[in-house]
């Protein structure tokens, strides 16, 4: 698909956010964040629900006025000239926002028309986009007949109708089954190749690790750290993680073992893990001797990073 990149040599960062805050009454959803996304980059906001990711996305899209701070997209100020920003930016909101009264094709076609394409251009573009997302056979179907995965992909397809140079996606795969999720990831990877700048939010560390060139870890409306996925793991979760799959009857013995030696551990269901970050290696030699425990090790990942920074799990929020 021809994406008609809009000026990749632009000196401005594709997205630049400075000291951005949002309060809803007494509640602070976003508490002063700054980051910038280079042209062609895929940047992720990783954090649990309530971290302020969606609010940040909505402020970018002009759906929510910022309480404080600046947002520039392609050098254009979102506050003073939101309309021009929305001409070069595609948005995938959290709820697909598809028009149930229309067909798959009409959803794309009319969106293209509203974005500012002529009827002819919008028709052609809709066919291109349908091709790319392999939704061609469904083009005459009502959107309410589509599966959740297809609806999501249609919403992403729709954001590309205006051939945007920047696409903002709020949790592109939340609620999708693993198969649909993989499919979206594949499609986003191809999109990335074409040079589009993508800002996405997610609470799946796997998604962030696979798709993002750089990411920011968000919690309670703040960015806690920022970098490439590898840098983040190197910085906060460099050692291996020892994982113990424990049978229920042996759980007590394992807990006692950890507590006697003051080893920090975390327990998710039947899985007990100990991180060996920053060179500190806990003595876990005795655990193997406890009956009903299987021990394995894995490298640290973004989830461990989140835990190391916040002291909390990314999942199960």
């Amino acid at each position: 698909m021809n994406l008609e990149q809009q000026n990749t040599s632009d000196p401005h960062p594709a997205i630049e956010i400075r000291d951005l805050s949002k309060n809803f009454g007494d509640f602070t959803a976003v508490a002063g964040i700054s980051f910038s996304v280079k042209a062609g980059e895929t940047y992720g906001l990783l954090g649990p629900n309530g971290a302020g990711k969606t609010t940040t996305m909505r402020m970018l899209a002009g759906l929510s006025p910022a309480s404080r701070g600046d947002i520039h997209v392609g050098g254009i100020d979102v506050v003073s000239d939101g309309r021009s920003v929305r001409e070069i930016m595609g948005v995938v909101t959290q709820h697909d926002g598809l028009d149930n009264g229309l067909t798959v094709f009409q959803n794309l076609f009319l969106h293209g028309f509203l974005v500012g394409l002529s009827r002819k251009e919008s028709k052609e573009r809709a066919h291109e986009v349908l091709d790319f997302f392999s939704l061609k056979e469904r083009s005459k179907d009502n959107v309410y007949e589509l599966s959740g995965g297809m609806k999501r992909r249609l919403a992403i397809a729709r954001s590309m109708m205006g051939s945007p140079s920047v696409i903002v996606m709020d949790e592109p795969t939340t609620g999708l089954d693993p198969q649909s999720r993989n499919r979206v990831w594949e499609e986003l990877a191809i999109l990335k190749e074409s040079g589009v700048t993508v800002l996405l939010s997610t609470h799946y560390m796997e998604e962030a690790a696979i798709l993002c060139d750089r990411l920011a870890i968000m919690d309670h409306g703040l960015i806690l750290d920022e970098g490439t996925p590898d840098e983040m793991v190197e910085r906060h979760a460099s050692g291996d993680v020892t994982q113990m799959r424990v049978q229920p009857a042996s759980l007590r013995a394992v807990r006692d073992y950890m507590e006697e030696r003051s080893i920090q551990y975390r327990e998710v269901g039947a899985l007990v893990s100990v991180t060996g970050f920053n060179g500190v290696k806990a003595d876990l030699s005795g655990v193997k001797d406890i009956e009903g425990v299987r021990v394995s090790t894995r490298p640290g990942n973004l989830e461990d990073v989140f835990l190391a920074i916040t002291g909390r799990e990314l999942r199960d929020e």
Partner: protein, 260 residues
């Protein structure tokens, strides 16, 4: 509440784009919508003119059918405009259709204008359909039928704006029942559609005149009976003033609902 999003000038392309979206959606379900545009008003018109008309005889020196026709047409125009921006607009709020539209270079102000323009279109469609029948039955003069397109447009604008005052604040669809109990029914029965307001008790009369539909019916009847005086100018002004109050209120409330 901070609504400090500057409102840029209105772009015609945005408004016609929205109108086009509604038209496509409308055409998709034309078979069903057509029953409401054409058949429903025909039922009311025939029942009232042939049924009630037989009992009533003449009103203001014309047959009851001739008297009631412009009123019923205005009433139908009102129902269509109101329905579009209350029920249909509520669904567009609820299904995040407006939210999606706002991610394009379109503003809330333009959304209200596009939807009101579509409300006017629906009001005109039902007016043309019903007036055509009325002309065929000899209940309205063909020239007068063309004339009442003017108040039909005004009804589309005023009630298109009014519908938003409900959809923009509605917490759920049941709330929209109020559109009928508080607006549509009182207007339909007290706006001089079926009987002259002058026969109402004196204390009710001012209330009846305060209803925006009354002004529209008054103007439409002016065309039907080919009788105009200063009161028709006042009706025109009154509808204009009502719209000038309701439309900014609609923009404000819809902004509050969608941009937060």
């Amino acid at each position: 509440m901070n609504l400090a999003i500057p409102t840029p000038g209105v772009r015609r392309r945005s408004v016609t784009g929205l109108w086009f979206r509604h038209a496509v959606s409308f055409v998709r379900y034309w078979k069903f919508v057509l029953t409401w545009v054409v058949i429903e008003p025909l039922i009311v018109l025939v029942a009232i003119a042939f049924g009630v008309g037989k009992l009533v005889g003449e009103v203001e020196a014309v047959s009851y059918a001739q008297y009631v026709t412009p009123g019923i047409i205005m009433g139908n125009a009102m129902f269509h405009a109101l329905f579009e921006t209350s029920w249909n607009a509520y669904n567009r709020i609820d299904n995040d259709v407006y939210e999606t539209i706002l991610t394009t270079p379109i503003t809330v102000t333009e959304i209200t204008l596009g939807d009101i323009l579509w409300a006017v279109t629906r009001a005109l469609l039902t007016t043309i359909a019903t007036a055509a029948f009325a002309v065929a039955f000899g209940w309205i003069d063909p020239l007068a039928a063309v004339g009442i397109l003017l108040p039909a447009i005004l009804v589309g604008i005023a009630f298109g704006a009014l519908g938003f005052l409900f959809s923009a604040v509605a917490p759920h669809t049941t709330f929209l029942t109020l559109v009928f109990t508080l607006v549509a029914s009182p207007m339909f029965f007290f706006a001089g559609v079926f009987f002259p307001i002058s026969i109402l008790p004196n204390w009710v009369e001012p209330f009846a005149w305060a209803l925006p539909l009354t002004s529209a019916v008054h103007i439409a009847r002016g065309f039907a009976l080919a009788e105009f005086n200063a009161s028709h100018v006042w009706s025109l002004v009154y509808l204009g003033v009502a719209t000038a109050i309701m439309w900014p209120a609609a923009v404000y409330l819809l902004k509050r609902r969608l941009i937060k």
